[in-house]
Amino acid sequence: MATATRSARIGRLERPALTGVLVREVVNFSSYWRSATFSSTVEPTIYLLAFGFGFGSLVSTINGFSTVQWVGTGTVATAVLFSSSFPAMFGTFVKYQFQRTYDAILAAPVDTEELVTAESLWVATRAGVYGCVPMVVAVFFGLDPTWGMLAVPFIGWLTGLGWANFGIMVAGFAKSIENFNYIVSAVLTPLFLLAGSFFPLDNLPKWAQVLGELNPLHQCVELVRAAVLYGFEWNDLLRVGVLVVFALIMWRIAIHAMERKLID
């Protein structure tokens, strides 16, 4: 039959489909990059100043590092979290519910799996870049530049990929935008405080340390500090593994959640 030969069977996760969704994001970014960059830069700077000088006046070193070294590397994870999970949650919900962008995209030759994948890749890339901001700011406050810093965007990207898919998943399951409050208070805030960004987890009770090891954000903090301050060790591969597994699980659940939402 003529139809069989007219075009080859189109598969899953095709590059043109991913590119199409990414181009839409990049073109849109050109209209709001100023505000996004402003908030991504100012927030970590405030954290650095508040904790750096606030804490810094009480303690001279944390685990043998200056507060600028400690907090400047630790807040990379905070910046990655904020610039991935929040845009993913709110952006997905707005594009689905208010702008109906996803109706238009799914009417084109793009599947939900490709849509979610491209959106999370885009958010992760942004998070990888914005995640470096606290570190760069810290350099101006006395953090010594090292070659290891070049690994930080990639650590931020991998961490951001998991949290971007986490955000898309939350938006996929949420009935209303108010539901996000539960996630922010009950999930993101504890994980962000239990990541080791501001204080070491070693002095916490055993159960909190175990929880900390399961926290993908803590893996990000440790990897960034290894890259910038004390060099990688073999067990850092395990930390990378945790981030990869986290991203993979969130990716599949996010696709499932969005399919339920977008296809009826």
């Binding site: 181009v23 009417a107 030759p109 977008l262 296809i263």
Partner: protein, 300 residues
């Protein structure tokens, strides 16, 4: 077989919990024609449109679009379809041209053809001098023209339009009709849902009237009118009590009637003169008479 039919639906059923939105629908859209899906709100038009892009998955029945079986091969079908949605989903902070650029990527137009495709769409929708305007600065009619231009950027073989002129001023609606008519004359296959009778009558080669998720009549608008409402209609005005009398008297004489708010229309008056006692205006029967008769619903 599939080459003559751009769309072929057989026995399509779609349920949402206890509600059956589409209930055994058959639909043929021959290649190169414009078919109108006409029905009141809730008749299942939009659900049918969503099933054609596999954004709704049918519970039962067969769906073929451009020779591809849905939902399995929907992606190939979508690559050759253009969709004009009922609700505006343009990127409002982008310019006209940027919106078209994004869709030229989503519809996989190669780098060397992209520029020409965008120019052609801008010209078709008469938006050339608005190319750098942000969408949120456009009028409602221009936004709607851009939605149509966006759906045509990849020269689709089939265009799906869900209520293309809903909520627009009459003169803007006529601009859009001219645009749709131009597409039709160029041989693009169009499936258009609407609840505006005039729109269907002017643009559609054939019409499928839908009610409660089923097709209740299909054919050329003029033939449907002749078949169901005859050539002429007597419209009788009066107070509600009088209208009720007219209805029962006409019913006793074997004539069909329909209410139009302030009047009763007595249908099927070809060559009959035995209507003494009814004072009213004679007029040509139209598709609206058929629509109300078959769906039992008034339209806005």
């Amino acid at each position: 077989m599939s080459e003559e039919l751009a769309i072929r639906l057989r026995g399509v059923v779609k349920r949402y919990g206890p509600i059956t939105a589409v209930n055994g629908l058959d639909l043929d859209v021959p290649t190169g024609t414009c078919v109108g899906l006409l029905g009141p709100n809730g008749a299942g038009k939009s659900t049918t449109m969503r099933m054609l892009t596999a954004q709704s998955i049918a519970d039962d029945g067969e769906l073929d679009v451009l020779g591809f079986q849905l939902p399995r091969d929907s992606k190939q079908a979508r690559a050759q379809c253009g969709v004009v949605p009922q609700l505006d989903n343009l990127d409002v902070t982008l310019t006209v041209e940027q919106n078209l650029l994004v869709f030229s990527h989503l519809y996989r137009i190669g780098r060397q053809d992209r520029h020409d495709a965008i120019e052609r769409s801008l010209e078709l929708a008469n938006l050339v001098d608005r190319r750098d305007t942000r969408v949120d600065k456009l009028s409602g009619g221009m936004r709607r023209r851009l939605l149509i231009a966006r759906a045509l950027v990849h020269r689709p073989r089939l265009v799906l339009m869900d209520e293309p002129t809903v909520g627009l001023d009459p003169q803007v609606r006529q601009q859009l009709w001219a645009l749709i008519d131009q597409l039709r004359s160029e041989g693009t296959t169009i499936l258009m849902s609407t609840h505006y009778i005039e729109e269907a009558q002017r643009l559609a080669d054939t019409v499928l009237i839908m009610s409660h998720g089923q097709g209740v009549a299909r054919g050329k608008p003029s033939e449907l009118v002749m078949e169901h409402a005859g050539s002429e209609v007597l419209e009788v005005y009066g107070p509600p009590k009088r209208l009720a009398e007219v209805e029962s008297e006409a019913g006793a004489a074997g004539l069909k009637t329909r209410r139009t708010g302030t009047s009763v229309s007595i249908l099927g008056l070809d060559g009959r003169n035995g209507l003494d006692g009814f004072e009213g205006e004679r007029r040509r029967a139209n598709l609206e008479d058929v629509f109300v008769l078959l769906t039992g619903e008034e339209i806005a």
